[in-house]
Symmetry: C2
C-alpha cells in the first residue's frame, strides 16, 4: 500500500519537511495548509519540488466549517472552496479533506449537510478534484465516522467520499468494525495516528499528544484490517500532532513514522511470523578511559576477570550467566552496548534493517565472530548474539581465569536501564517494541529531587530480557545515570560480601536513609529481617505476586550497578523506592563535588 505522511507530523519549513519525508521512503504527503501558507515558494514550485523528490500530494487539508450552514454563509463557503480548488490545480493535488463543521452556527440537519457537500462535490468535479469528508471527534453535529458516511451516502456524488481518521474514531471509543459497512471505493483516505491513554479533553489530546502507530494504546492494525475488508485500496497515511515531534529532528521523525507503518503492515499480513523475542542478555558493555574502578567494583560483587580480547582493549568480567565487557575507550564510564541472545541472529538483523535500523559498521578481525549491532535511539549499540553456550564470540577472549564461568552468587543480568533523549522517547518505545520485540509496561513518574523522571519498562514475555527507559518528563532535567541490574538468589550474601570483604561498604554501596527503614517498619511487618535490610542498605518492595529486595552501588562515571533478588512472581523494578534512591544518588554526587 502507498505510505503517506501529513507534513504537520514533522518539524521544519515545508522544503525541510519534504526532504525528510522523501528520504524516509514515503510515497506521498498530505499537504497541511499552514505549511503551504508559511512557505515562500509558489504552488507550482512546490508541485515541482514534490515531484522531483519522488512524492505525490495525496491530500490537501484541512478545509473547515463548510457544510450545514445558513444560506447566506453557503455562497461565501463555496467561493472559499473555489479558491482552494484553483490552488489545488496549481499544486497538482486532487483530493481535498473537509472536516465536519465545528462552528456554533452549524445547523444540525443531515439533509442540509448532504446537500451542501453535494454542491461542493459538483464544483470539485469540474476541477477533477474529489472531496473526502471526515467526522472530527469534536464536530458540532457530526462527530462519528458512521454519521459522516450516512451524510456522504445521502449526498450521493461520485466525487464525494469519506476520510477515516483513527484518532477521531478510537478516541471516542467508537467500534471500527462499522467501517466494513462502507463500500471501499467510498473510503477516499485513511489517516492513522496512535495516542497514549490520557483521560483528557479530546481536542487537547488530539492536538498535542498524538503519536505514530505502536507508540500509544490504539489497535491500529485492527482498524486498518476493517478498511481493507471494506475494499479500501488507497494510502495509509500518518497524521500526527505532537508537541515533541514538532521540536524533534525531522529526518528522525520521518524514519520513525515509516518504521511504524512497516511494523503495522507486518501486523496486517498474517503470513509474516514475527520473530521470537530475545531469550536473555549475552552481555552488557561499558566504555571508559580507566577500567580499574569498575573492575574493582565488579570484583567486590564476586565477578572474575575471565578474559581479555585478543586484539582490542576489552576485558571480560563474568559471574554465573552475567557477563560484563569493559572497553577502554572514551572518557567517563557509560553503558555503550547490550548483547541480546536471539534464536536466529541473521533474521533479527534482517528484520532490523527492514525496520530502518541499519547494521552499524564494526571493525573486526577475520577470526572474530560475526556480531551485528544496530543503534538504539539513545545511541547504545544492540548486538544480536546467538543462544549457544558458550557463545562463539567468547573465543575472542583469552582465558584469564576459569573461575569466571563457575556459578556465582550473581546469576544473570536482570535488566538494564537506559536514559533517553527528551525528544526521542516515543521513538525509543517503538524501536524496542518492533526491532527488539519487547513489550511495553505502564509509564510511571518517579520523583527526583530536581524533577520528575518518566520511566517505562519494556520486557520479553517471560522477563528474561528487561529494559527500563528513563526520560525527564518536561524541560531539560539532567538524568544522566544508566545502570545494569544483576540478579541474585541471595542478596544478603552479596551485601555482606560487599561489607565484609572490603572493610566497610561505605565506598561501594549507596547509603539509604534511616527514615526509609522507619517507614518500612510502619508499612510492613517484616520482623527481624528489617534490621538486616537497614544494616545492609537493602531496599524492599512487594506486590501481589511477590517480594523484591535490591541495593545499589555508587555511581562511577554515568553508570551504577543494582543487585536485585526477585522472590515469588514480583514483576516490577521497585519504582516505589526510586525517590529515595535518586535523592541518595544526588547526595553522593553533591558529596563528591
Amino acid at each position: 500500500m502507498r505510505k503517506c505522511i501529513a507534513t504537520v507530523s514533522v518539524s521544519g519549513t515545508l522544503p525541510e519537511k519534504l526532504s525528510a519525508i522523501a528520504a524516509a521512503g514515503f510515497d506521498g504527503i498530505e499537504l497541511f495548509e499552514n505549511d503551504l501558507l508559511a512557505c515562500p515558494l509558489p504552488p507550482e514550485e512546490i508541485r515541482e519540488r514534490v515531484r522531483d523528490l519522488g512524492l505525490l500530494i495525496d491530500l490537501y487539508q484541512p478545509f473547515r466549517d463548510f457544510e450545514a450552514v445558513p444560506d447566506e454563509r453557503l455562497a461565501a463557503n463555496l467561493r472559499r472552496a473555489e479558491h482552494k480548488f484553483q490552488l489545488m490545480e496549481r499544486l497538482g493535488a486532487d483530493l481535498l479533506l473537509v472536516c465536519s463543521n465545528v462552528s456554533p452556527r452549524a445547523i444540525g440537519d443531515d439533509d442540509l449537510a448532504a446537500e451542501h457537500l453535494r454542491q461542493l462535490a459538483v464544483r470539485a468535479a469540474e476541477h477533477g478534484i474529489r472531496v473526502a469528508y471526515e467526522a472530527l471527534a469534536w464536530g458540532r453535529h457530526v462527530s462519528e465516522y458512521l454519521h459522516a458516511w450516512r451524510i456522504v451516502r445521502t449526498a450521493d456524488h461520485p466525487n464525494l467520499g469519506v476520510c477515516l481518521d483513527s484518532f477521531h474514531i478510537l478516541s471516542r471509543g467508537s467500534d471500527p468494525i462499522g467501517i466494513e459497512a462502507i463500500p471501499g471505493q467510498k473510503i477516499f483516505f485513511v489517516q492513522l495516528s496512535d495516542a497514549p491513554p490520557l483521560a483528557m479533553d479530546v481536542l487537547q489530546w488530539s492536538r498535542h499528544y498524538r503519536c505514530f502507530p505502536g507508540q500509544g494504546s490504539f489497535d491500529l492494525a485492527g482498524l486498518t484490517i476493517h478498511a481493507l475488508n471494506a475494499g479500501y485500496t488507497g494510502p495509509l497515511s500518518l497524521e500526527v500532532f505532537n508537541d515533541v515531534f514538532r521540536q524533534a529532528d525531522a529526518a528522525r521523525t520521518a524514519v520513525d513514522g515509516m518504521r511504524s507503518l512497516i511494523a503495522l503492515e507486518e501486523a496486517l499480513d498474517g503470513r509474516t511470523a514475527l520473530p521470537p523475542p530475545p531469550e536473555g542478555f549475552a552481555f552488557a558493555e561499558l566504555t571508559m578511559a580507566d577500567l580499574r574502578p569498575v573492575g574493582e567494583l565488579l570484583r567486590a560483587l564476586g565477578f572474575t576477570h575471565a578474559g581479555t580480547h585478543h586484539s582490542k582493549p576489552v576485558e571480560l568480567w563474568a559471574q554465573g550467566g552475567a557477563r560484563i565487557l569493559l572497553n577502554a575507550i572514551g572518557d567517563e564510564a557509560e553503558l555503550s552496548a547490550i548483547g541480546l541472545q536471539v534464536a536466529d541472529p541473521a533474521s533479527s538483523v534482517k528484520r532490523a534493517e527492514a525496520l530502518l535500523s541499519p547494521v552499524l559498521p564494526r571493525e573486526r578481525d577475520p577470526e572474530d565472530a560475526r556480531l551485528d549491532a544496530v543503534a538504539a535511539p539513545d545511541g547504545a549499540q544492540m548486538f544480536f548474539c546467538g543462544t549457544e553456550e558458550p557463545p562463539e564470540w567468547l573465543a575472542e577472549f583469552s582465558p584469564f581465569s576459569p573461575a569466571g564461568s563457575a556459578p556465582g552468587v550473581i546469576t544473570h543480568i536482570d535488566h538494564v536501564a537506559l536514559t533517553q533523549p527528551l525528544h526521542y522517547f516515543d521513538e525509543a518505545e517503538l524501536f524496542y517494541r518492533t526491532v527488539l520485540c519487547l513489550r511495553p509496561h505502564e509509564r510511571l513518574d518517579m520523583p527526583d529531587p530536581y524533577g520528575l523522571v518518566r520511566s517505562r519498562a519494556m520486557s520479553s514475555p517471560g522477563g528474561a530480557v528487561r529494559m527500563v527507559l528513563n526520560v525527564a518528563n518536561v524541560g531539560a532535567l539532567d538524568v544522566p545515570w544508566q545502570h545494569v541490574a544483576l540478579a541474585t538468589g541471595d542478596i544478603m550474601a552479596v551485601a555482606r560480601r560487599l561489607r565484609e570483604g572490603l572493610g566497610g561498604a561505605g565506598d561501594i554501596v549507596l547509603p539509604i536513609p534511616g527514615n526509609y527503614y522507619d517507614d518500612l517498619a510502619a508499612r510492613y511487618d517484616i520482623g527481624p529481617a528489617l534490621g538486616q535490610l537497614r544494616e545492609l542498605d537493602i531496599l524492599y518492595d512487594r506486590d501481589e505476586h511477590g517480594e523484591f529486595l535490591h541495593l545499589y552501588t555508587v555511581t562511577i562515571g554515568r553508570v551504577f550497578f543494582e543487585i536485585v533478588q526477585r522472590i515469588g512472581g514480583y514483576d516490577g523494578y521497585g519504582a516505589a523506592n526510586a525517590p529515595v534512591r535518586l535523592a541518595a544518588q544526588h547526595a553522593q554526587h553533591a558529596g563528591a563535588a
Copy 2:
C-alpha cells in the same frame, strides 16, 4: 495569618527546600513524607534544622488509606499510625493529614469511617497529636469536603478535624460556601493551590499542573473568605504538585509562592485599595553594542533622534507618543527595559517591594530624575514613571531635534512581547498580574516551524499597556525574539514610507509569502485592498469587534518591530498570523546565516 508551604512544592533535597522556604519568609511547612524518607538526617536533626531556620512543622502528610477498612486491616493501619505518631514526636509535629481512602477495598460506610477515625484520634491524643481528615477529589467513597466533615462530626473527637484543600474542592466544581457550615475550630488546616483550566482526569491534573494562587483560574480569595467566616484561624498553606516547579530553582519558587500569598491576603483585606493599573508606556529601552542599525530602522519608521543622555551613551528616539531609548551597552540588540506610566510611582514601588520584587540598584547623577525599576522574571527592567507630560526624566536628554515631539504617523507603543524562560512562565504571569496590575488573557499555542510557542497576553483594562509573554511549551525550543509593536492610524502610509523612502523595503520589512494572500482572498472578501496588503507585506486579521493590520520589520539582534493598526474594537494580536510570521523570521535567519 501564618503562611506555610508544603515541601513538595519546591525542588531540591529537604535541607535545600527548607533553606529556600525560610529565606522567602514563610512561617512554617507541611513536611511531605517522601521528602523525609529521602533525607539522610534523622528526625531530631530535621526538627532542629527547621527550628534554627525560624520555621515550624505545621503539618505532617500524607497518611493514606486508613479508614473504613475490613476489620483485619484496621489493626495493621493503627499499627502503621503508631509508627507515624512516634515519628511526629521526634519531629516536633502535632498535626497529621489523613487523606480519604482511595483503595478499592475501602468500604462505603460513613459510620465505619467515623468509628475508625475516632479510634485514630484517641490514639493521636495520647501523643498530643491532632488528625486532619481531607476528602481527595478521587477518594473511593469520600470525595467531597462536606462528606469528610459529616464523618468528622459523627466521629466527634476533639483531636479530629478536617483539612480543606482548594484543589480538591474546586476541581470538582463543589461550591465552597458550604465551608461556612463547619465550625472554625474543626477546620484544622487549609491548603491552597490554583490550577489552569484543563479538561483532564482530576488525578493527573492535580499531580502535574497545580500552581500558586493567582496563576490559574480558581477563586481562592473567595474560598479563603468562607474559611475565615467559619472562624478558621490556622495557617494558609500552599501545596502544589507541578512538573515545572519540581525542576525550577527552589529559591525563586519559594519567593513566587510567598508573593502569591501576599497578593491573596491583599484580596482578602477589603481595606487595601489595589493601585490603579499603568496608563501607558513611557518608553522601551534597547541595549546593543552598535546603535546605528536600529537607529536607521527607527528613522525609516519616521522616528527622530530627539536627544542624547547627558551622561550615559543613550539616545532618545521619538515619534508621537512613542519613545525608544537606545543604550550602547551589551552586545546584540535586546529589549532590556520598559517604562510604565503610573499615577503614583512611589506607591507602585512600595507595592512591588511588598510583593518581594525589590527595587534594582541604579547608577544616576544627582540631577537625574529618580526612576525606580524592578526586575521581571525574564530579567527585563520595569521602570515606574509618572504620567506628567513631558515626563521629568526627558530633561536628562539634550534636545537634538524638536521634531521628535511632533505628531507622527506612529502614535504610541501598542505592546511589547517578551520571551520567558521555560521554568518561570507561571512566575511571570503572577508578576505581571500582581506587581504590574495587568490582567491575563487566554493562553494560546502558536506553531513555529520548530515547535509550539505558548503565548499569553496581559493588559491593562483599557488596553493602554499590553504585554505578550511567549515561551516554548515543551523542551528547549529557542524563541529568542522580543519585539516592540508600534501603533499607527495609517499602516499603509508607514509601509509606503518604508518602501519608497528607502528604495525598496526588502531590507526592512519581513517578506510574507504570496500563499498567505491567496488564502486571505479565499477567507475574506477584502476587495482591491488585498493587492495593497500583498504588495506591502501587511498581514490581516479580524474578530467580532474589528480588524487588525500589521507588518513586521526584519530582526536586528534579538529584537524586531511590529507596526499595528487596530480598526474598531479589535482586541487581539493577530495570533492567527503567527505561524506565517515565525516561518518568515526563520527564513530570514537561515538566509542571513
